[in-house]
Amino acid sequence: MNARTPSPRPAVPGTLQSTLLVAEREVVTQVRSKSFLISAGVLLVGVLAAIVLGSLLSGRTTDPVRVAVVPETVALVDAADDLEGVRVADVAEARAAVEAEEVEAAVVADTSADAVLDARVIALGSAPERVLGALTVTPEVEILGDPDPEFGIRFLVSLAFGLVFMMTATTFGSTIAQNTVQEKQSRIVEILLSTVSARALLAGKILGNSALAVAETAALAAVSVVGMVVTGQDELLGALGAPMAWFAIFFVVGFVLLAAIFASSASLVSRIEDTGPVLTPVMMLTMAPYFVVVFFNDNDLVLRIASFFPVSAPVAMPVRLFLGEAVWWEPLVALVVLAGTTVAVIALGAKIYERSLLRLGGRVKLAEALRES
């Protein structure tokens, strides 16, 4: 070192420190960009709106049906939850009220000789389903074991897990890819690589974007939970709790896997315009789990295979857990497979990344990046 240098040179930061610095830059840049803030906001509002609308449309808060009652049937109608009795003097008056459409229907005493029930319902055009439903007596049902989710919910949950994973992975995956190519295109990568190692650069990119992806997904989860509690859909929440926790774990590892694939694929090209061809297979890989769970969510075999395949496991396994089809050890095995694949892919990806970052000009062939130094 030169004796005339005014201040002593600080210690060279280690790989971990450099990684954190790179990650910090990724996060700060991303959080500051308007497009990121807007898309995240739209996503959050969208999820909240879906939950609230879903609850409204399911008809939980509709007004009770107004029916005319004669003194003999007052007790019957008062006992029914969904009906509001409008007292009239006799059957004739009740008929008049129905005809005048002041009430949906009239419940009057059935006095005919062959009557099975004590009451008769008078309606204008067609049989009033809600009135009949409210008056119907059904026996208590006892369910043995876990309740079976109905098809609609089953489909919806598969869709939700698939969509969240796909959206987050494609959004942040493309950001990683774009930043990688941009660094290569603007040649700042030459300055960076004369300072930090390619590994630290790759690790920082993955770490920073994973942190953002997890944070965004956590915000989504929080909004969903709050939305469900506020709209009184707690039972669904109870059924989703454990699968959601598994989803979170799978999500983190699965995202890191995809991030490594995105970064190393993008490092093969030097210009933003060239990213399309190299990213197409990666994009397909990212969207595959979504289509698998949506189209095959009632096909046990396909779902079972998908729940162990690394790329689709983050979505397929939580769905199977929610459906109650997975045994306790299955998510653990799938997680080990996923984590193992992730480590292997990162090692390979770092190699590709290291070797293609400084190869400017045309597209670097994958085999070349792996063979040559």
């Binding site: 040179r9 060279v12 660094e183 030459e190 300055i191 004369s194 300072t195 130094s373």
Partner: protein, 323 residues
């Protein structure tokens, strides 16, 4: 002192650096001159360690350079590279922090440097909002922000106006004065000639000339003289041993050996008052042109030889033609 020895590098089967070796002395500005594709950028990348050499070594004060030693280098790549969306000071701070400075220190350095380069008022503007010349200054700042122990700059002056060139040269000279070896490449030979203490000329992947600027000019000087007198210089053409290159009235340029030149001067003094008599030394641009011209001639010659060597084979009739 930074030294390169016997550096070879090929891309595929194309040899781009052939036994490249030269030194960048401490405390001196060294200009690196060569045409397009001569190998300047490849050489610089190898010095930086972003590219590996097939053979040869780079040493600093006699010790081979390792990654740790190279981290203290300041580098400005030929293709400008910074984050377009980041603010000027912010990216410099980021780079300084990657070199180990803490946040406050890094920020102070970044702002101080921008101030010295005349960009103090634009420190918090995004890079893409700055003019190209100003982006260039930020780029130079990026190479300097960590107080480098070696400076390697690829075309630092391209795109700068003359005033900006002076500002940048001032900053570079300051670093050189502290004992930092400074190497920069340039196409602008007049700038190199004005600024550099040492010059390295590369052509076709080989070092053609290296040394002090004046020493080079002397070495490549033809025995040429310039004479300006109050009278006419037409008589020069009749002098034995004198080859007149150009003349106009009282001014003439001629080639002659040392003794003949002194004799000519005496004759001239006898004829009319002499205003000026001096040996002509070539400018860097002229030296460079000569070197490159030789290079091209040589390449053509080799190409011709190769063509000769291969022609008998190509002249052989192909089976197609026989049938």
């Amino acid at each position: 002192m930074l030294r390169l020895d016997g550096i070879h590098r090929s891309f595929g089967d194309r040899l781009v650096l052939d036994d490249v070796g030269f030194a960048v002395e401490r405390g001196r500005l060294t200009g690196f001159v060569g045409g397009n594709g001569a190998g300047k950028t490849t050489t610089m990348r190898i010095m930086l360690g972003v590219l590996s050499a097939d053979a040869g070594e780079v040493t600093m004060d006699g010790r081979p350079l390792d990654a740790a030693g190279r981290r203290a280098f300041g580098y400005m790549p030929e293709e400008r590279g910074l984050y377009p969306k980041m603010r000027a000071a912010e990216q410099l701070t980021y780079l300084a922090r990657l070199h180990g400075y803490d946040r406050a220190d890094a920020d102070a350095r970044a702002r101080d440097l921008l101030e010295r380069l005349g960009l103090g008022g634009r420190a918090d503007d995004r890079l893409e909002d700055l003019s190209l010349g100003n982006q260039q200054r930020v780029q130079i700042a990026a190479a300097l922000v960590h107080d480098p122990e070696v400076l390697i700059l690829d075309e630092p002056f391209s795109g700068l106006d003359p005033l900006a060139v002076d500002v940048v040269v001032g900053v570079l000279a300051e670093h050189a004065a502290r004992g930092v070896p400074v190497l920069f490449s340039s196409h602008q030979l007049d700038v190199v000639e004005r600024l550099c203490d040492d010059v390295v000329v590369i052509a076709g992947g080989r070092i053609r000339a290296a040394g002090g600027r004046e020493e080079l000019r002397d070495r490549f000087a033809e025995p040429r003289y310039e004479l300006t007198t109050a009278g006419d210089t037409g008589w020069l053409r009749a002098e034995p041993g004198v080859q007149v290159v150009d003349f106009a009235g009282g001014w003439a340029q001629f080639d002659a050996d040392e003794t003949t030149a002194q004799r000519v001067l005496r004759t001239a003094l006898d004829q009319a008052p002499v205003h000026e008599f001096r040996p002509v030394r070539p400018s860097l641009a002229e030296i460079f042109r000569d070197i490159v011209r030789d290079e091209t001639a040589e390449a053509e010659q080799t190409a011709a030889e190769q063509a000769d060597a291969t022609s008998p084979r190509t002249a052989e009739p192909t089976p197609e033609q026989v049938r």
